[in-house]
C-alpha cells in the first residue's frame, strides 16, 4: 500500500515546493541555524548533480546499446560510441580522471571536436548575412544596418580611416540595445517567476515525468 503514496505526484510537488520556498526564504532570513541547514541542502543538491551527470551518461549508453542490439540505422557508429564511453570510464576509474588515457581522449577527441563545432558557424553566418540581410522592411533595415555598423566597427582597417565608427557602434550597443535587452530581461524574469510559482503550486505537471 505504501508504494501507492509514493506514486502520487502531489507528494513530489510538495517536496519541490518545500525545498524551493526554504531556499527562497533563506536568502532573506539571516539566521545561522537556517544558514547551515541551507548550506547542507545546497550541498546535497550539488551531490545529486553528480548522480545526474552519471544518469545522463547511462541513458545515452542504454539508447546506443539498444541501437547496436537491434542493428538499427548507423548501428556501427553507436557501437563505436559505446566502446569509447566504456574505455573512457574504465580507464578513468583505474588511472583517475587525470590519468594518461582519459587525458589523451580529452585532449585529442573531446577538445578538438567541441572547440571546432561552433566555429563551422563562421561559414553559415557569412552566407546568412549575404543572403538574408536585405533592406526589405523598416524592421529588417534597422537590424541590417546596425549589424553592418557593428561589423564595420569590428574591422580594424575601417576604424583606422573612420575612427568615429567605434563610438557609433558603442552608442548603439550601450543605449538602444540596452533599452531593448533590459525590457527583455525583465520580461524573462517575469516568465521565470511564474514558472517557479506554478511548479510550487503543482500546476506545472509536465516538469516531473
Amino acid at each position: 500500500m505504501t508504494s501507492e503514496i509514493f506514486k502520487r505526484k502531489e507528494l513530489v510537488f510538495a517536496l519541490i515546493a518545500f525545498l524551493g520556498l526554504w531556499l527562497f526564504l533563506d536568502y532573506s532570513v539571516v539566521e545561522p541555524g537556517v544558514q547551515s541547514v541551507t548550506a547542507d541542502i545546497l550541498k546535497w543538491a550539488t551531490l545529486l548533480g553528480g548522480f545526474m551527470l552519471i544518469y545522463g551518461g547511462l541513458e545515452a549508453l542504454r539508447y546506443h546499446s539498444k541501437v547496436v542490439y537491434k542493428k538499427q540505422r548507423n548501428w556501427y557508429w553507436s557501437a563505436y560510441f559505446v566502446a569509447i564511453v566504456l574505455v573512457y570510464v574504465f580507464s578513468g576509474l583505474i588511472q583517475g580522471s587525470k590519468g594518461m588515457i582519459p587525458q589523451w581522449l580529452f585532449n585529442n577527441m573531446l577538445d578538438p571536436a567541441s572547440a571546432t563545432m561552433y566555429s563551422i558557424l563562421a561559414f553559415y553566418i557569412i552566407s546568412a548575412l549575404y543572403r538574408t540581410l536585405r533592406l526589405r522592411s523598416i524592421e529588417l533595415a534597422i537590424l541590417s544596418l546596425v549589424t553592418i555598423i557593428v561589423v564595420a566597427a569590428n574591422d580594424p582597417i575601417i576604424t583606422i580611416y573612420v575612427p568615429q565608427l567605434t563610438a557609433v557602434r558603442d552608442w548603439f550597443i550601450s543605449v538602444p540595445n540596452v533599452g531593448a535587452n533590459r525590457g527583455f530581461v525583465i520580461g524573462a524574469a517575469i516568465g521565470a517567476i511564474f514558472l517557479g510559482v506554478r511548479v510550487f503550486l503543482g500546476r506545472e505537471r509536465s516538469l516531473v515525468r
Binding site: 519541490i16 552519471i54 544518469y55 581522449l105 563551422i120 534597422i142 517567476i193
Partner: protein, 200 residues
C-alpha cells in the same frame, strides 16, 4: 612510447578538426566520426566528473563522520530506478530535490537581480538623453510583450517602437556573432597551423 602516443593524438585531433569542417560541404561519415567521438568523450568525461563529485562531496563527508550524507547518496541511487519497470516513480524524488533547490536558488536571483535591480538600474542619475532613450526602450519592449489588449492606437505605436528597439538589439547581436564565430574559426586554424609547424 609516450611521444608516439602524443604524435598519434595530435593527428587524431587534426583529423577530427577537419572532419567537423567537412560538415559544411556535405554531411559525411567523416563528420559522423567526429560527431560520435565528441558525443562519446563528452559522456565519458561527464560520468567521471559525476563519480568525482560523489567521491569528493559525498564520500569524503561521510568519512569525516557526517553520516547524514548517506541520505543524499541513497536519494541519488534512486535516480537509477528509471531503468527499472516497477519502481520508476521513485526516481522522481531526486529529480524533485534538484528541481526544488534549483528553482528556489534561481527564482530568488531572478526576482532580486533580474527584476528589481534591472528595473532600478533603468533610471540611473544623471538623467541624460541616452538614459531617457534607455527608459523609453525598456517601457516600449515591455509593452510589446503585452497580450491581453489589442495593440491599436497609442498602444500600437508604443508596441511598434518596442519592436524597432528589439531590432537594434538583434542587429548588435548579429554583428557581434559574426565576430565571435570568425574568432572561434581563427582559434582552430591557429591550432592546425601550429600542429603542422607553420606557426610558432
Amino acid at each position: 612510447m609516450t611521444d608516439v602516443l602524443t604524435l598519434f593524438g595530435t593527428y587524431i585531433a587534426i583529423i577530427i578538426t577537419l572532419a567537423v569542417y567537412s560538415y559544411i560541404i556535405k554531411e559525411t561519415d567523416l563528420f559522423r566520426f567526429a560527431e560520435y567521438s565528441f558525443l562519446a568523450t563528452s559522456i565519458g568525461w561527464a560520468i567521471l566528473l559525476g563519480l568525482d563529485t560523489i567521491n569528493n562531496v559525498g564520500i569524503s563527508a561521510i568519512s569525516k563522520g557526517r553520516y547524514d550524507y548517506i541520505i543524499p547518496i541513497i536519494l541519488g541511487l534512486l535516480l537509477f530506478t528509471r531503468f527499472s519497470g516497477k519502481l520508476w516513480y521513485l526516481a522522481r524524488y531526486p529529480v524533485a530535490f534538484i528541481l526544488g533547490v534549483g528553482l528556489g536558488v534561481f527564482m530568488r536571483g531572478q526576482i532580486h537581480a533580474m527584476f528589481l535591480q534591472q528595473i532600478a538600474a533603468t533610471v540611473i542619475t544623471p538623467v541624460t538623453v541616452d538614459s531617457l532613450i534607455i527608459l523609453v526602450g525598456v517601457l516600449s519592449v515591455l509593452v510589446f510583450f503585452y497580450f491581453t489588449r489589442e495593440h491599436k492606437g497609442a498602444l500600437g505605436y508604443v508596441s511598434t517602437l518596442g519592436r524597432y528597439f528589439l531590432m537594434v538589439g538583434f542587429g548588435a547581436t548579429f554583428g557581434n556573432t559574426v565576430l565571435y564565430r570568425i574568432n572561434l574559426a581563427v582559434g582552430r586554424i591557429i591550432f592546425i597551423l601550429r600542429a603542422l609547424g607553420l606557426l610558432p
